[in-house]
Symmetry: C2
Subunit: 305 residues, 2 copies
């Protein structure tokens, strides 16, 4: 039994109002894998990198993350993204996108990954997400899909095919509105849950997240932070924490999903405290337990009887 | 002992994507008074209206709200506001503002109001808010101040004087950023709590509200709604529900304020379901209890030990 994460392992160069980085390790599968590794000990990645990645893959294997499914293309260069965040940290400009080896990504599933019970399809072209699902010998117990507005613009047909095969979709509020054509997030959720997934998570950044499914709604806050240094990877970290928690508790129901959203939110709150993977690479169990307690304190009230 | 609310009692004409109204009764004190009346039975208003208001004042007295402090100006016309909401319901254009009798509002405090223990200073010129405070023989146990960006633009000096005399400030997120000059709401709260109030509530509309004070933070969600027909008065309803709950439980501490924020949010969630005061005028106790339970279900999770 394992948790398999498909997504990018890449280089990022990030500029925010607080500073800028050279090429550092990034990518959706990197953030999601690191986050999940704190909650579950059989995390396995599927991705593609170039020879230029070198021994930096050790930052994943050091956490016990399996990388047999991370293909290294000889002479190839890893996916590279450079972006600059605006002062509000909620919007950003993409400065450089070099697909490199990602352009021909053909996901290979090692035999050792065929025990996959929990699958996170990170933000990638929907065709790669479909290919991954088809190459698994058994349908996983839970499939979580992350995607973005770009794929709604250029590959909506394929995206709708993937949606029919997944259990949980995570997107942000603007994307939920785009996908459904509804402004009200309640109506957007009703519409999207007709497209295939049983559960929908709408990520609202500093405003938290909403989970819809089983006729219920759960609202999770974001932790109010004095400083957000770098939002890069926060959504991927959220997704990794979410599915990592569910893999750990081995039971998928709405009550556990509520908790999973809190774990995802807590891990994402660490992610933004430093540049890149700096913070999410270096967490202690005590820090995570303490952060979860902060979410309890942040949301508790005592009425309703 | 009583809860006194100072604010406008007025006429509104409202247009939203769902329809439009003729002149209907509105005003901050109207919404706040109606909301508070469901939680506390000694609600007393201070305001000014024209003779044109006629017997429509009965909609307040019918709920047991005292109106001895609502001055009627002979031959005068009541304050009138007309506005049109955009499709997102989060922004609006003001079409008409006729101050009328509000231009010379000089708040009179009847002797029967001098038992005021809880005071809500609704959104008004800061000078009127200051005058009201000075004319009370005893400092109330709790003073809640509502204000808006307009007064930050045109009367910041007076507003800062009022801030030094109140216990709780309620403003929205854009106003918190404007007042403090800080983008981070955590830093904005730190800065604003230095200006006088012990507690700050930042209202975020569809994203809920944050309560800061006593070194703690509480995050309350908004109830996700399929349809928002008319946001007019939601903030005033929130404030009325908030202070009404505290007047009812007779004890001001952070734990009770958490509950008060939930009551305010629950009443505000009714307010937006119909035009004007339609919904907030016609609530049953069972409906309110049920809505509070929805907030419990919306936010509950079970980890942290």
């Amino acid at each position: 039994m394992s948790l398999v994460i498909v997504g990018t392992v890449a280089f990022d160069a990030i500029e925010t109002p607080f500073g800028k980085t050279d090429k550092i390790v990034g990518g959706a599968a990197t953030y999601a894998g690191l986050a999940a590794s704190y909650l579950y000990n059989k995390v396995k990645l599927i991705s593609v990198i170039g020879e230029d990645f070198g021994d930096q893959i050790n930052m994943l294997t050091d956490k016990g993350i399996a990388v047999e499914g991370v293909e290294i293309i000889k002479g190839g260069k890893s996916f590279f993204w450079a972006g600059k965040y605006h002062n509000d940290m909620n919007s950003r400009d993409t400065l450089v996108t070099e697909l490199n080896v990602l352009a021909d990504f053909d996901p290979k599933i090692p035999i050792s990954y065929q025990d996959c019970e929990y699958l996170l399809l990170g933000n990638l072209t929907p065709q790669v997400q479909l290919d991954t699902l088809e190459r698994l010998a058994h349908k996983p117990k839970l499939v979580v899909l992350d995607t973005m507005n770009f794929w709604m613009d250029v590959a909506l047909g394929d995206l709708k095919k993937v949606l029919q095969k997944v259990d949980v979709l995570t997107i942000n509020d603007a994307e939920a509105r785009q996908l459904s054509g509804e402004y009200s997030l309640v109506k957007a959720a009703e519409s999207i849950l007709q497209m295939g997934p049983s559960y929908l998570i709408i990520k609202k950044g500093e405003h938290g997240a909403l989970l819809f499914g089983d006729g219920e709604v759960f609202s999770a806050p974001a932790l109010p932070l004095a400083d957000v240094f770098d939002p890069t990877g926060a959504g991927d970290t959220f997704a990794g924490g979410f599915i990592g928690y569910l893999a750990k508790v081995k039971s998928v129901n709405f009550a556990n999903m509520r908790n999973a959203v809190i774990y995802g939110s807590a891990l994402a709150s660490f992610c933004v405290e430093k540049f890149g993977t700096d913070r999410i690479q270096n967490l202690s169990r005590a820090e995570i337990v303490d952060r979860i307690k902060q979410f309890v304190t942040l949301t508790k009230f005592d009425i309703g009887e």
